[in-house]
């Protein structure tokens, strides 16, 4: 047994859109995978195994689609694993893939996450009728709006903060050629005037429903040495999950998120995340989750996260840029959204993010969450070998 370091040497994503009617499901995942392989200057035959993730199969109406996608991903004759951990799945999938490298089982792994939401109605698929539970007929927004209200009430946050996040992420998205929502002239007035969907969440404070995929090539130390471009190194990775039905949960500031952050910071030897992390790609599907996660992740004290956002620190030119890619608010192929956070963090420390590059980014946090704020996946990536 000999644990090795894991590095990201290839990153690819699709152009995200409401409907990618130009490609099949297989074409969508292959587009991202081929870009990741091209970035790594590797071929399909160089890959030892594939780890694929997506959110519920009901989104496309294909049960266990990795069986059908094995052909398109060059997996025939190789191992393929399929991960599903709700909204956190893109992050969890990257973590499972990284663990096959760290454990010494594989040398070069292709990891892919996708969602082609135009194949179905995600609102329907996110509104299941579960026996003995009240049915949520309002999708994810219906579930999370009460948590946002609770946050605003507890923190005494001004209403503008959510709108500021909505504007900031869409301004960032204008610098990201892959982003789904590219809203020219986006400003606070436009957000304020957009329809209220789930009070206090307005239309423009909500993530879109996207078709898209993301892929990465992960490798060991030898593979990183052979990489044609600078690798991003995995400094820490962790998952945490907590129950559904448990009265002791704090869904506004979940214990699983706090524990996951503590674990990943310890692995990466991060004492003060505010000082030691240069930027973060956080899973923010509704604008208010930015200040909520800033607190949950220890970037701000409880009740103080909104002040960090309000100060402008989380903007692209700020001291702690959050979601320079435009985030989930700008592109949301649900199963891929977590991996996009992980991949964008890696792109930043590889100095590969183009117009939305954060100057001097050396260490970045990728974050994903899922379920009813109960599944968390995080990694810290860095420019230097840990």
């Amino acid at each position: 047994m000999s644990a090795t370091r894991c590095a990201i040497v290839g990153i690819g994503q699709t152009h995200h859109k409401a409907k990618r009617s130009d490609v099949s499901i297989a074409g969508l995942v292959r587009e991202a995978a081929a870009r990741a392989l091209a970035d790594a200057e590797l071929d399909w035959k160089d890959i030892d195994a594939v780890v694929i993730g997506k959110a519920p199969d009901m989104f496309e109406g294909v049960m266990m689609p990795e069986l059908y996608l094995a052909d398109a991903l060059g997996a025939a004759g190789k191992p393929i694993l399929r991960v599903h951990t709700a909204g956190s799945v893109g992050g969890s999938t990257a973590i499972v893939a990284a663990q096959t490298v760290i454990s010494g089982v594989h040398r070069r792994v292709l990891t892919v996450a996708f969602e082609k939401q135009s194949e179905s109605d995600a609102m329907w698929a996110l509104s299941p009728r579960i026996p003995f539970q009240p049915q949520l007929t309002a999708g994810a927004g219906g579930y999370f709006a009460p948590l946002v209200r609770a946050y605003i009430h507890r923190a005494g946050a001004p209403a503008e903060v959510g709108m500021m996040v909505a504007v900031k992420d869409r301004v960032n998205a204008l610098k990201n050629p892959y982003a789904h929502l590219r809203i020219k002239g986006i400003d606070l007035a436009m957000v304020r005037d957009s329809p209220m969907l789930w009070d206090p969440i307005r239309y423009l404070e909500t993530c879109p429903s996207s078709d898209g995929a993301c892929a990465m090539v992960l490798t060991d130390e030898d593979g990183a040495k052979a990489s044609p471009r600078p690798p991003a190194w995995v400094h820490g990775l962790a998952t945490r999950s907590e129950p559904v039905m448990f009265a002791g949960r704090n869904q506004v500031d979940p214990q699983a998120g706090r524990d996951c952050a503590r674990e990943v910071y310890a692995q990466a030897r991060i004492g003060d995340p505010r000082q030691d992390i240069d930027l973060a790609e956080l899973y923010v599907p509704f604008s208010w989750f930015e200040p909520m996660w800033l607190e949950n992740l220890g970037f701000a004290a409880a009740g103080q996260g909104w002040k960090l956002t309000e100060s402008g620190a989380t903007a692209l030119g700020g001291s702690l840029p959050i979601n320079p890619s435009g985030g989930v608010l700008s592109s949301n192929p649900i199963g891929a959204s977590g991996m996009l956070r992980f991949a964008e963090a890696a792109m930043q420390v590889r100095d590969q993010a183009g117009e939305h590059q954060v100057d001097g980014a050396r260490r970045a946090l990728g974050h994903a969450y899922g379920g009813g704020s109960q599944f968390f996946a995080m990694w810290i990536v860095g420019r230097e070998r840990p």
Partner: protein, 348 residues
Amino acid sequence: MSRAGHRHRDVAIISFAQLPPVARDAARDEAELVQPVVNQALAEAGLTRKDIGFTVSGSCDYLIGRPFSFVSALDGVAPWPPIAESHVEMDGAWALYEAWVRLQQGDVDTALVYAYGKSSLGDLPAILTTQLDPYYLAPLGIDGISLAALQARALLDSGRASERDLAAVAAARRGGDAAALLGAAYTVAPLRAHDCPTVADGACAVVLAAGDVARRSARKAWIRGIDHRVEPHQLGSRDLTCSPSTTTAAEHAGVASLGAIDVAELHAPFSHQELILRDALGLGASVSINPSGGALVANAMMVAGLARIGSAAARIHDGTARTAVAHATSGPCLQQNLVCALAAEVSP
């Protein structure tokens, strides 16, 4: 494919628990399927939830007919304080593989693996149609039993097996007389009812341990190797009469290094698939095949593969076997296969 000269950390299965598979377990929801097997597996391992370093499960939303079924199931583990956890939308055998990989890192010594499936809520053969390529295969409407019948027909046409051989497998697993079984009507020719799995609702759990926890454990079935492979999905791209992915997985799992194999637990939901798998693994007449009865008599979807590994380990735990091979499958016509080599002794 793994790093040259790399030696795996020794990991043992130290307990296995399963619900008695029943055709329809209407009363239990996901958490109620999972809770009893998790509790029993932990108790038999002499561990509590707080002793577990990693938890991972396998299940499928399409069986329950709603998204995020595994989220509800997690409550059966009572994950508070929060736990390090993952889930595969696959048979639990692949969850066990993920746990084995996780234990290779060396920072945790224990893992809990569970799987559940409740097929009684829908029409399983029809649901399995949705598992096919949505553009070229699913629109044809072919169901799970008809796909298996295509494979059985290909095997019969190859001359390597007869309907009598299929009946002999069914008789061996179910009891009864092979010749008499041949008098039954076809379900989908050339398969008769006894050639097709008895579909069940069920759940099972396995505890894995490494390091000191494994050494202290009363019962150990050491994982000498584990590997899995997938084949092309398009049936026309494959020779359905053999299972090369099983053979490749067995090579990488080190089945050959076990020496004489006492027991093989094969995840063969259809009788002809057992014949294909025995060939793929090169199992001779001396090997006791599916002493548990196998997936032909109790096919709890998403559970049956993990239950094969658990059942094989149980034979090593009770001393009736020194070596065992366990196999799990997924996808139409044995598309994806996992092989786990188990032994009473740790690797030399």
